[in-house]
């Protein structure tokens, strides 16, 4: 802990440099597959859960519909889909991800299927602070052809020290207060919403505005497809 302050500035500088170089060397995202298989409807399967948290899959699923719909896609009712699959002999998301596209097409008829893995979910407590992290990985597959038409990863973090200028004592009090508060109000759903916004809505490699979005035609035209 004692060595942290002198390190902070160079670390920040390195982080900034990394961001700058990462941006400079990044190829533009290839929207070709998404544009040529533009889905009108998306079936979001319950996510694989790689976290030690018991409610990560359910928690993420509850936050998934809104950003996708507001991006212009029809999204099948996630809880109904989940329960129906469970009642039909598929106990976990792992089995649900193994179902063939043909079978999914027969029952739900989605244009595309979204396969998600939740990698991090929840709050870790340290001595002076707590960090809430959500990170996910997503793959969108065209139902008719099996082609992967979009892929993305995102992470969102909220620290209990955000905006805390109170020094060491302040930080200690902050950590205690935050632990008390967060046990009552879990910040994870909000962090998950931020993570989903980073995943689906970012203008670099997020999803293009879908058919229900007012900017859809414009976005398609930018990628060489003029809609009738």
């Amino acid at each position: 802990m004692r060595t942290a302050p002198p390190l902070r500035r160079p670390t920040l500088l390195c982080a900034l440099l990394l961001v700058v170089t990462a941006c400079a060397s990044r190829e533009p995202y290839d929207y070709g597959p998404l544009v040529s298989h533009m889905p009108g409807s998306i079936l979001v399967l319950p996510p694989l859960d790689e976290t030690p948290e018991v409610e990560a899959a359910e928690g993420w699923l509850a936050t998934a519909t809104r950003p996708l719909v507001e991006r212009g896609y029809y999204v099948f009712p996630v809880a109904v889909v989940h329960r129906m699959m469970r009642e039909n002999g598929l106990p976990t998301p792992h089995e649900m991800h193994q179902v063939s596209l043909t079978k999914l097409a027969e029952i739900f008829d989605p244009d595309a299927v979204l396969y998600v893995t939740v990698r991090e979910w929840g709050t870790s407590y340290e001595v002076l602070a707590s960090n809430t992290r959500v990170s996910v990985e997503a793959r969108l597959v065209d139902t008719a052809t099996g082609t992967e038409i979009w892929r993305g990863t995102a992470v969102a973090v909220k620290s209990s020290n955000d905006g805390n200028q109170g020094g060491l004592i302040g930080a200690m009090v902050g950590a205690v207060v935050n632990q008390v508060v967060t046990s009552a109000i879990d910040p994870t759903p909000d962090v998950a919403r931020q993570c989903n916004a980073n995943l689906f809505l970012n203008s670099w490699d997020g999803l293009l505005p879908g058919p229900l979005h007012p900017d859809h035609a414009e976005a398609m035209a930018e990628h060489g497809v003029v809609l009738p």
Partner: protein, 114 residues
């Protein structure tokens, strides 16, 4: 630190309105909470509470001449089916299909089950 935050805020302020104004807007009401409740816990009383909250929300939307977002009618229809009210379930599945023809195959399948 503070200066960087200032720039970030400025950048976000410049970007956000452009992103926020043009997306389709729906009033989701208790939908996300209900999804989580259905996912995590399913006692009888909670099922009735979820149905009441969603039916009331859809009623309010109708009074304001707004449409329910994708999936909402299907969700409450399924809850009605679990609660044993197949008439209400069928009405909601038909409503989902009418609003969003993308759901036709799925809704027809549910209508056949009830």
């Amino acid at each position: 630190m503070r200066r960087r935050l200032g720039w970030t805020a400025l950048l976000l302020a410049a970007l956000l309105p452009a992103a926020a104004c043009s997306s389709p807007r729906y009033d989701w009401g208790p939908y996300e909470d209900s999804v989580l409740a259905v996912e995590l816990d399913f006692r009888e009383q909670q099922l009735m509470d979820e149905i009441a909250a969603l039916e009331e929300h859809i009623h309010q939307l109708q009074l304001r001449d707004e449409v329910a977002p994708p999936g909402m009618h299907a969700h409450v229809g399924y809850l009605q089916y679990l609660a044993g009210d197949t008439g209400a379930a069928a009405r909601h599945f038909e409503a989902e299909k009418a609003l969003y023809p993308q759901s036709t195959v799925f809704m027809d399948g549910l209508l056949k089950r009830i």
